[in-house]
Amino acid sequence: MSPRIVGVSVPRKEGISKVTGQAKYVDDLSFPDMLYGATVRSSIARGKITGVHLGGGIPWDEFTIVTAKDIPGKNVVSLITEDQPFLADGIVNHPEEPILVLAHPDRHLLPLAVAAVQIGYERLPSIHTIEESEEQGEIVWGSDNTFKTYVINKGDVDRIWKDAAWIVEGEYSTGAQEQLYIENNGVIAQYSETEGVTVWGSMQCPFYVHKALMTLTGFPEDKVRVVQTETGGAFGGKEEYPSMISGHAVLLARKSGRPVKIIYDRVEDMAATTKRHPSRTRHRTAVDRNGKLLGGEIDFAIDGGAYCTLSPVVLSRGAIHAGGPYHWPNIRVRAKAFATNTPPHGAFRGFGAPQSLFGLECHMDKIARTIGLSPDEFRRRNLLLQGQSTATEQVIQEPINLPHLLERALKLSDYHAKVQGFSVHNRSSHKKKGMGIAAFLHGSGFTGSGERYLNSLVGVEALVDGQVRVLASSTEFGQGTNTILCQIAAETLGIEYDDVRMAPIDTRQVPNSGPTVASRTAMIIGKLVQSAALGLQHTLIASGFLASGESREEFQAACKTYIERFGKLQSFSRFEPPANIFWDDEKYHGEAYPAFAWAVYVAEVTVDTNTYSVSVDDFVALQEVGKVLHPYLAAGQIEGGVAQAIGYALYEKVVWQDGRMVNSQMTNYIMPTSQDVPPIRVYFEEVPCPYGPYGAKGIGELPMDGPAPAIVNAVIQATGKSFHAIPLLPEDILLGFVNEPSETQAEVYR
């Protein structure tokens, strides 16, 4: 029987409230006697705090002031490593590090008060780049400035070089990128010694905040409550940071005895919260006479900023994706996350993969140019085939046909005809046109044994009127969580989409189904919703109130009878790792992800050699993502991801000065507008995946991975110049014309 609801573009669950302006985001909420909070931050990159002075002209007696000394539990933001304080205690390690927090009833007084606080410092030397960190001239974290190191080994890379027809080297780098959700970070906290603490806020991961607040307050589990409010975009930027701002609001609420709201303005949000890790990827690759990869070494480095936060996990995903969708008989990936004195970098859609895949896909084009093959032909000869294995020796079991995906993307973009036409056109025009390809993959769910540790729990509850609620901590922030999880439950139970809704995301009401990250919601949580719904159906059948395969009306009648007889009707399902999946955390070897989504993207660009500006004229995004649960939402994810990645490639430059972002405004940090995006043409291939509900895989991060290298490859094709870093701004392209490249000489042996 074909699905009735899954695969159909039903209206978004919270759509009406959003288009009518009724949806309540955290800044739309207000409590009686509420205070507003603000943060005093470090103005230097690294040093000792020698004094705090409250300057004149401010009615300080009306303010609540909280420092590290006011923290009842531990002054540490619980995540992976316990190194980051909520409030600096004696030393600061990056600009914008929180030192103290203030609260007052008048929101407008706060900026004046923050400006009136004078912090005395004894400066210490600071470092701000991967290179400075690896030189270890100054140790700013641990014993060697290193948060984490991984090595992935397949085959024997050391033996391949003598057989190579070509050895090609390259170095590629990517800059920081701001998530730039349009709703800034914000929370409201309420505190009582007897009742405990409640936080309402804009966030992706309520149980991360829950855990962090337990550590901060010393309260047990049941005295900490976290509620997600409507969240105006996140993209990873509200994965770990909400723990910090929630902690600050809780401390102020505790000391003042009143509810406290903290809403960042844009400047503070951009300067102080996390961004995408800057990266450097070095490749050394051996290719044989037939244009086949013999093997390669990849050195992947990321700048983690001043505290560990999520850097080890970002590094892990980047390292695992560094070899891309190619068959490497031999490969070694060395990956390292470095500490610097910049605000900690964090989660952002793609999570390390856009960085290492940028390096890889630019390098693939460079190899093709070096050995005299076209970019498509070199890829065609090396794409992974079913039965071959990735860098971690995960054998591709699914019936994926990457050469077919490549051919189809070339056809959809009219690649060959355009490349030929442009080579003629470019001779006589100052507007140079080019085409660029990127082939890539993105793993769904937590890496390796991550899902095992998360141990996610999801429930489905039927009410007496036959309406159904999905109980999960999976949050909606635009991607469509609410809609797809309700579709899956309705489909499974044989009822209508309108009969199902999400329970409020409140840690008192829903089980911990893990964080809403890592392209895991559709595949992992969706599957748990499906199995919990099946469990609920089985309960009704086992109780004798429902025969199998009954109608919606009979389901509703059965729920009524069951609940009147026994009370609650709930069914829970806990994650169980698929039996045939094995991952070795020590060797970084095995099945890194239950499934990958696969893609080939093609960008068409024009480079104006008078202004050195680049426009993307057409964009083909072809991907295999398993079953598409909701065509409009899925296409919306791809279109949005491509636009965000166009910004990553061409516009979005974080300008640093001693570790501080100096362009922390939308005026001078430029994201794509409606006039900058090309037609984004989205195509899906659907090979049902056994690990996801109705065959679905993850989709949210995939579109962030491919556009940047496809665009840079197109710019290189258009101009014949050498580029290897993003963001690629007009001034960088100008430099490419001024400094003639030395590409095919020094970096190529033989």
């Binding site: 573009s9 209206p11 978004r12 919270e14 759509g15 009406i16 409230s17 959003k18 288009v19 009518t20 302006g21 009724q22 949806a23 309540k24 985001y25 800044d27 739309d28 407008h108 900026p111 998530q179 730039l180 959700y181 349009i182 709703e183 800034n184 409507e230 969240t231 105006g232 975009g233 996140a234 993209f235 303005d265 844009r266 922030f477 635009g478 991607q479 469509g480 409009y632 939402l633 296409a635 919306g636 279109e639 949005g640 991801g641 491509v642 636009a643 965000q644 405004q665 939308m666 005026t667 994201m671 794509p672 507008t673 409606s674 006039q675 995006v677 037609p679 984004i680």
Partner: protein, 177 residues
């Protein structure tokens, strides 16, 4: 930010919001967005950047699309303002309907401003070209959609909405209670 020096005195300002005459006691340099959200409880108007770049706070002021974060309240004396709360009348406006159907709203935070910008552009160009749509929405940033589905929504609304419905907001804005 109030924009007023400490010690500035409050005064009464009268203006029409969504067809109703409202009187507020405010500081003259208070921003329109703050008065709408804090004094009048109209929280559908969103703040994204506070400097006129993102367009989330877009409202119609005497029929023109403006960023309410850049408008001092004194400038609104006697004017007509339409916010997202005033768009739906008897059921949703064709533009709201089209955003819902086409997937034009994802996280929803830019949506109120984007809908007002779309309404304004359809008033100016009832059958807009793609270039007119891109230009009409050029002051409204969306980080989720890549704009594609918003373009579809505007095209659908142009097909669905009668000229009369699209002009409706201008008429409403001129009503006096």
């Amino acid at each position: 930010m109030s924009g007023d020096a400490p010690g500035a005195s409050q005064r009464k300002v009268s203006f029409t919001v969504n067809g109703k005459l409202r009187r507020v006691l405010v500081y003259p340099m208070q921003r329109l967005i703050d008065v709408l959200r804090n004094e009048l409880g109209l929280t559908g108007t969103k703040e994204g950047c506070g400097e006129g770049e993102c367009g989330s706070c877009s409202v119609l002021l005497n029929g023109d699309l403006v960023n309410s974060c850049l408008i001092p309240i004194l400038q609104v004396e006697g004017a007509s303002v339409c916010t997202i709360e005033g768009v739906a009348k008897d059921g949703m406006h064709p533009v709201q309907q089209a955003f819902l159907q086409c997937g034009g709203a994802q996280c929803g935070i830019c949506t109120p401003g984007m809908i007002l910008a779309s309404i304004r552009l359809l008033q100016l160009h009832p059958n807009p070209s793609m270039e007119q749509i891109r230009e009409g929405l050029g002051g409204n940033l969306c980080r989720c959609t890549g704009y594609t589905r918003i373009f579809h929504a505007v095209q659908e609304a142009a097909k669905a909405g009668t000229a009369e419905e699209l002009q409706q907001l201008l008429v409403v804005a001129d009503d006096k209670p």
